[in-house]
Subunit: 193 residues, 2 copies
Amino acid sequence: MSQDSSADRPKPRERIVDTARDLFHRHGIRNVGVDSIAEAAETNKMTLYRHFTSKDALIVETLNKAAQEAEGMWHGLEVAYPGDPMAQLRAWLGQAAQCIIQDSRGCDMANAAVELTEDDHPARRVIEEFKIMQRNHLATLCKGIGVTQPDLLADALFLLLEGARVSRQSIGAEGPVSQFVRMGEIIIASFKV
Amino acid sequence: MSQDSSADRPKPRERIVDTARDLFHRHGIRNVGVDSIAEAAETNKMTLYRHFTSKDALIVETLNKAAQEAEGMWHGLEVAYPGDPMAQLRAWLGQAAQCIIQDSRGCDMANAAVELTEDDHPARRVIEEFKIMQRNHLATLCKGIGVTQPDLLADALFLLLEGARVSRQSIGAEGPVSQFVRMGEIIIASFKV
DNA sequence: TTGCAATGTTACTTACCAGTAACACGCCCG
DNA sequence: CGGGCGTGTTACTGGTAAGTAACATTGCAA
């Protein structure tokens, strides 16, 4: 064991990314300085800048990590209900609802798009690709449950989730957001046959 | 006529609010400084601070003005199709679609909620009240078109619009957003009887 | 015309933040 | 044991942003 209090904690780079994700998520990207990140990650600004060329590069890295986790979530659904897209879709609905209720700060990707308004910001590319992937995952499931307009259903569910996550931040969890699962089920049912 | 080039332009206070709204909308609140606002409003920082005690106060004022305009929009719908809630709802759907397509920057209220993360920020109260009003307006229309679950329909349409406006900023106008009107009509139809 | 009220101008303070320089330390591998 | 490599520390630069002070100007109204 090292003389440090926390023996086997991750390396600085990983701590920085994880801490930055958490702080960005809770307070917003523009409201968090690199100094705070370094301090919260129990390291310092120099080490941060040895791993990332700029704050923007760190932002991109945190979004990439978020995208990676999301991919894992989709994979998890497929593993949990193999060959049963309807079950996967229901599970997705439930997980999304849980996420919305528990977390008041919405989707990091969508929030980043709101905060980073420069057209050529490197994060915008990551955000767009991520959202396209999410929609495609949904579309794949919808194509497997036997509806006449799977793409349109996927779009509807996509917008429903986007709306719920952003509304959670403005109108709270007791408004329309609380009906998320019911609405999802009704929309799915209305597309059947 | 005054010796100024533009003869009968609004007073500084109004110019400041309008300019701030525009800049906040286009670039995000945190990305716009009071100096830029004053300059773009063709006045100066001192005059700005004589009318508003702080940047936060100006933010609140811009959101209030946005809320006021939105109320005018709802009133316009009622005037255009008096006693015909279904026509008002369709017109609302069309106007919202127009707004989403033409403007890439989403809803000022929702965006402000993303940027202003402090729980006690004075703007959060304005934002929440505004969103509740929007949902109530929708619910009023839905109660007039003869559906079994008007509140649930209102919630669905509310989230649909919220999702479309926020998605416009991440995935663009050619994705799920492009199906906004169709999805709105399908959802309304699915709630009928 | 006088005089007040709103506006304009310049300059300043204070604070924060992104990014860098120079140097010191400690740990692991050979 | 020695030498890097990653890390820590301090201090700094340059820029920007919120907010204020003091003074000049304009315009309207009595």
